[in-house]
């Protein structure tokens, strides 16, 4: 497997301090955004397309749950507890935390070459073949090799780049488009998305895509060795090379089984 990163120095931490710190702050902020976002959706679990939408208009789709407001006809004859107040306060505070952390990560990653060295695929990795090789390896449940202990493979690179340069910017844009005040200064922010309700629906879908990434990401971390991956992202420490099984025969069958 050819990978992009410099694997020359096995003493170097798996992830730099900037990556580790911003990773966990983003994780906390994202969790807060997810929980508060879900609470806000509950107050009107109907989605529309275009500029306007309300209970007297046909929705694009409806989430089949009860609402926290009795003005929304959901088919359920009970109303969920209203948690919008703190959810909204938390949502916007966590959004600021995520955006500022993202800015810090983005700027330092440009300056220290993290994007160039670790995330942008090397020429050899910019092929479908390289991509499918990784997928095939995942499907065989082959363990990560020594190179992968220090770098990202082609699929990881595409996944992380998509999150950093597509999903995060999209979720910020679609979220900002829901601010009536921001829209007064930058009307294109909402108009380009097809209107306020389209922006809200897109915000919901992009959040869903981020949630999907989170689920796959956590699953992959567990499959590839939860302890060592967590250690790498917390202390930066890497397992000694001999501790990493190099052939499928040594692969632990149970993904959660500990490897030391």
């Amino acid at each position: 497997m050819s990978t992009a990163s410099s694997t020359s120095n096995p003493e170097a931490p798996r992830h730099t301090a900037v990556v580790r710190v911003t990773h966990w702050i983003t994780f906390i902020a994202f969790l807060a955004l997810l929980i508060s976002g879900a609470e806000i959706v509950v107050s009107h679990p109907r989605f529309y397309w275009g500029e306007t939408g309300n209970v007297m208009m046909k929705p694009l789709f409806t989430i089949p749950i009860a609402s926290s407001r009795d003005t929304v006809p959901t088919g359920y004859n009970y109303v969920m507890p209203d948690q919008n107040g703190w959810s909204r306060y938390l949502h916007f505070q966590a959004a600021w935390l995520a955006v500022l952390t993202g800015l810090f990560y983005g700027i330092s990653s440009v300056l220290n070459g993290h994007f160039r060295k670790d995330l942008f695929p090397a020429r050899a990795n910019r092929t479908w073949k390289a991509f499918w090789e990784v997928i095939a390896k995942y499907l065989r449940r082959a363990p990560p090799d020594a190179v992968e202990a220090h770098s990202y493979n082609a699929v990881q690179q595409i996944a992380y780049l998509s999150v950093i340069f597509v999903l995060f910017p999209m979720v910020i844009w679609t979220g900002l488009a829901l601010s009536p005040s921001f829209d007064s200064a930058v009307p294109l922010a909402v108009n380009l998305l097809g209107g306020r309700q389209s922006a809200r629906t897109l915000h919901f879908f992009v959040s869903g895509a981020l949630l999907l990434f989170l689920a796959v990401h956590v699953a992959m971390v567990i499959l590839s060795g939860f302890r060592s991956r967590m250690r790498a992202m917390i202390t930066g420490g890497v397992d000694a090379p001999e501790a990493i099984p190099s052939t499928p025969a040594q692969l632990p069958i149970l993904p959660l089984q500990e490897r030391s």
Partner: protein
């Protein structure tokens, strides 16, 4: 080793001092230029202050989007309100002819305006969207007198920083800063879609603040107080919304 530790200690010390000093300066500047919202305290204070300060630097004068007549919603939704008070019912039975809007506080000429007085001032029509914090929205034509006209009539003080406004309904009051109070699209609305403003939508008088979420557009306005501090109003958080757990600044 020792020198590195010392160097590190000194750098960290300087960075920490600079950080604290920077925050203190930022806080002082934010207070000075009115960039801290009245509910900019407590756990969510930092987020609220960042939002409000960013919006005030970016959107002090910007105009809410206006739409074409064809975009007016066929089915606007009149959000539910608490059952009307007896006082309101009396006014409604009399066709709102005795409805008055009182203005006091930091104005040269405190007094009150009837709906007819308000209508006699220059008025305008604007087609804007109203969006609820729940997520739904509609577009309507709102006809009314810009709040700035009424404030000018009452002789608002240059030291004024906020306008507090009250519904006839109990415990329903809000406030906006002068950027929104003097904004040309902030209108004391008495007409909607070519007719009188229906009671369900806030008639006879509703303050429409189109650059903020619907809950700032309080229905059934009867009183306004111009002030330079919100500390003595309610719990001092700016309006009834933060007291109920909702953000004071609803421009997001």
């Amino acid at each position: 080793m020792k020198s590195i530790t010392r160097r590190r200690l000194i750098t960290t010390g300087i960075a920490a001092t600079a950080g604290v000093a920077g925050l203190a300066v930022a806080d002082r500047l934010a207070q000075r230029y009115g960039l801290v919202p009245p509910d900019g305290c407590g756990v969510y204070g930092p987020g609220e202050t960042l939002t409000y300060a960013a919006q005030r630097l970016l959107t002090r004068h910007s105009l809410a989007r206006e739409f074409s007549r064809g975009m007016i919603s066929k089915t606007p939704f009149a959000n539910e309100t608490a059952p009307p008070s007896d006082e309101f019912k009396v006014h409604q039975a009399a066709g709102f002819k005795d409805w008055r809007l009182a203005i006091d506080g930091m104005v040269a000429r405190p007094g009150s305006f009837s709906i007819a007085d308000i209508k006699s001032l220059p008025f305008k029509s604007q087609i804007t969207e109203i969006a609820c914090e729940e997520g739904w929205s509609y577009i309507a034509e709102w006809i009314g007198t810009p709040l700035v006209e009424v404030l000018r009539e009452a002789g608002v003080s240059p030291q004024a920083r906020y306008v507090v406004y009250y519904s006839i309904q109990k415990d329903w009051w809000e406030s906006v800063d002068m950027a929104d109070a003097l904004h040309p699209q902030t209108i004391l609305t008495w007409g909607m879609n070519d007719g009188d403003l229906p009671v369900g939508f806030g008639g006879p008088l509703r303050l429409r603040v189109p650059r903020q979420l619907g809950y700032k557009s309080v229905k059934y306005i009867i009183r306004m107080t111009v002030t330079d501090s919100l500390k003595s109003f309610g719990k001092g958080l700016g309006s009834a919304s933060p007291e109920a757990g909702y953000s004071w600044y609803a421009g997001i």
